[in-house]
Amino acid sequence: MAWQWFHRLGSPKWFYEKTTPWMPWLAFFSLLIIVGGSIVALGFAPTTVEQGNSYRIIYIHVPASIVAMAAYYVMALAGAVGLIWKMKLANVVMKVAAPIGAILTALALFTGAVWGKPTWGTYWVWDARLTSVLILFFLYLGVVALQGAFQDREMADKSSAILCLVGMVNIPIIYKSVDWWFTLHQPASLKFTSASTINSDLMVYLLLTMIAGFYLFFAWSLLAATRAEILARESKTQWVRALLHKPAEPTA
């Protein structure tokens, strides 16, 4: 039964038609959760004595970092599937995941840096977290740049898949190394959500909700981008032309 799905996924057209009804729901719920969560985070969440209101930034920074990281694995997995099974759809997912991941990583970097100013006094502090996110950003940029460098689509997809896999293998090594380097230099590890800072259930639930909202938003945007890329790649086919353009009748 599962294999049926797998084979059907080989057809971009089937995927496109199957996902069309999902889109409005995904959009609605993900935006609802993010917007709602933001309102709660801004106006209703409690704050800590040490950090005051700047803690509200965490409700963006942590979900963005988590989903940015997860997106890389989604991208690498898609690349692997595309490389091994030569599935068109998997290559499309890999390609579109990269810029989404890059934007989320940039958001995580920006919010992490801005959060640092009122908390520690500087916009940038070289701690393990921020440095790892910065390196993740470079990894994404590499994939985006490699995708754009090739004229031939198949070459672009295969090369990017290899790069994604190499990156995926390296990410745990990189993160562990950076972590080790910084514990060597800064014995006090700076945890955003240590026991001392979380002083209410609302904070935990809000954080979890925002993480869920970001994941949902990622799912929606990944699908939307995949659908758009499918239309672009299959633009010469009949079904795409029928979908996007009503052919005019030639004058008699």
Binding site: L141, G142, F150, L163, G167, N170, I174, S177, W180
Partner: protein
Amino acid sequence: MTDVSPQNLSLRHSLWAMFKRDMALVVRHRGELANPLVFFLLVLTMVPLGISPDPTVLSTLAPGMLWVVALLATLLSLDGLFRQDFDDGSLEQMVISPQPLYAMVVVKIIVHWLSTGLPLTLLTPLLGVMLALPSEGYLPLLLSLLLGTGSLSLIGAIGSALTVSLRKGGLLLSLIVMPLYVPVLIFGASSVKAAIEGFPYNAQLAVLGAMLAIAIILAPFAIAGALRISVNN
């Protein structure tokens, strides 16, 4: 001269032939060999000029600077790793030959390391003197670079193979490869710093050795795959 008909061409013979050919090319272009080394020397000269000639400042910077610039010099040499063979068509011959591409890739990287990583490593004691590296730092610097430059060649070759068919692949190559170099840099520089501060550095060297082992086993797969793609242009 051994008979080179296909029946006699064992794997060992063909790899050795390739090794000799590439080394001969290196010797023939030995002017180009100097480029990364001169770069190494030049940039490290900039450090006292740009930051401070004070020996105490220099000695704190030295371990990291020596490693960072060694890394950059290796990056510089990567673009040419496969490019010549790609341009004159011999890379295509390598890819379609019956000999395993994995093995040929390993040979190519060994040649690359012998012509860049190893000379770089041997040059560093001299540059350590220029940067006021404390005496405890020399041995760990040599050992860490010896182990590390191998990994740098292997990881860098992945980037070279992915970008060899692109005209302006240089900057893209750096972007791809630099994040992957971070662990090697961290443990390499750390081993030198640890020695200077009086701590043992065996752990860092062991990690570098482990990275080299993993790289030598896994990287050629990625490199071979990338070469196959690049050649089918």
